[in-house]
Amino acid sequence: MQISETDRDHVKVVSLSGRLDSLSSPDAEKRLLNLVEAGARKMVLDCQGLEYISSAGLRVLLTLAKHLGAVQGNLLLAAPADQVREVLDIAGFADILPVCASVDEAVKLCA
């Protein structure tokens, strides 16, 4: 799992690339929560490069969303592949985590 971040219009855009599974999730969670700790409040997860997510990865997204919610922050997902999208839908995440078709759209909505 590779994670990189950029700032756009006061929104932290975090690119997730690779697999968010039980092996990579603990480190990914630490890195994402560190961003919140460092002051990030508006966050977009760019999921274009996310090849795979399991329940361990969903746990990371849920934890991040709860942490951001606790500080009146905002979390949006952008551009997940079809199979990742299907997993998010089955888990019922569509109601708690808005999913946008593109990063641009997510940043606009988040800013």
Binding site: D21, S22, L23, Y52, S54, S55, A56, L58, R59, L62, A65, K66, G69, Q83, E86, V87, I90, A91, G92, D95, I96
Partner: protein, 165 residues
């Protein structure tokens, strides 16, 4: 310490099925390697991408569940995963010697709760049940046997049955 052969002791081909058996111990690192090896095997066998995703997800979720909750001791245990590639998908057979656990009886998580009340427990099994075409659970004298059928391209019907033996 178990000195059994790990990973892919055998693979054989017939006219219609390609089959491969993986044996690991109850270790999450090994589970992750098994998932990577299974993915490669399914890709080489020409399995549709949707079925590969479902199969790898089922392996990760179900095996990590067995490892976390299946054992009452801290000893090494063997878990066997047999993958049979069919024309339009994959049949998985998972076998373990953990205590009785029928995942088909586990309650579905509430996926309608607001964010702050959302819990992640049970979500793995829920995902597999929704993605699988069918699932069958059998308990033999000392082993759990779980068959999971994954079809390519579309979400499964989620049918499930339990066989008493």
């Amino acid at each position: 310490m178990i000195s059994a052969q790990r990973h892919a002791p055998e693979a054989w081909k017939s006219a219609f099925t390609v089959k491969k058996q993986f044996v690991i111990t109850n270790d999450l690192q090994e589970t992750s390697r098994l998932c990577a090896d299974a993915e490669q095997f399914l890709e080489e066998a020409g399995t549709p991408p949707g079925a590969i995703y479902g199969a790898v997800l089922a392996l990760e979720e179900m095996i990590s569940n067995i490892i976390k909750y299946g054992y009452d001791d801290h000893a090494d245990h063997l878990i066997t995963a047999t993958l049979s590639v069919q024309n339009d998908g994959v049949e998985l057979l998972l076998e373990d010697d953990g205590h009785f656990f029928n995942p088909l009886e586990s309650p579905a998580p509430d996926t309608d709760l607001p964010l702050q009340d959302r819990r992640i427990g049970g979500l793995g099994i829920h995902l597999v049940r929704k993605l699988a075409h069918s699932m069958n659970y059998r308990r033999t004298a000392s082993r759990n046997q779980l068959e999971i059928s994954i079809r390519g391209g579309r979400r499964g019907s989620g049918t499930a049955s339990t066989v008493e033996s």
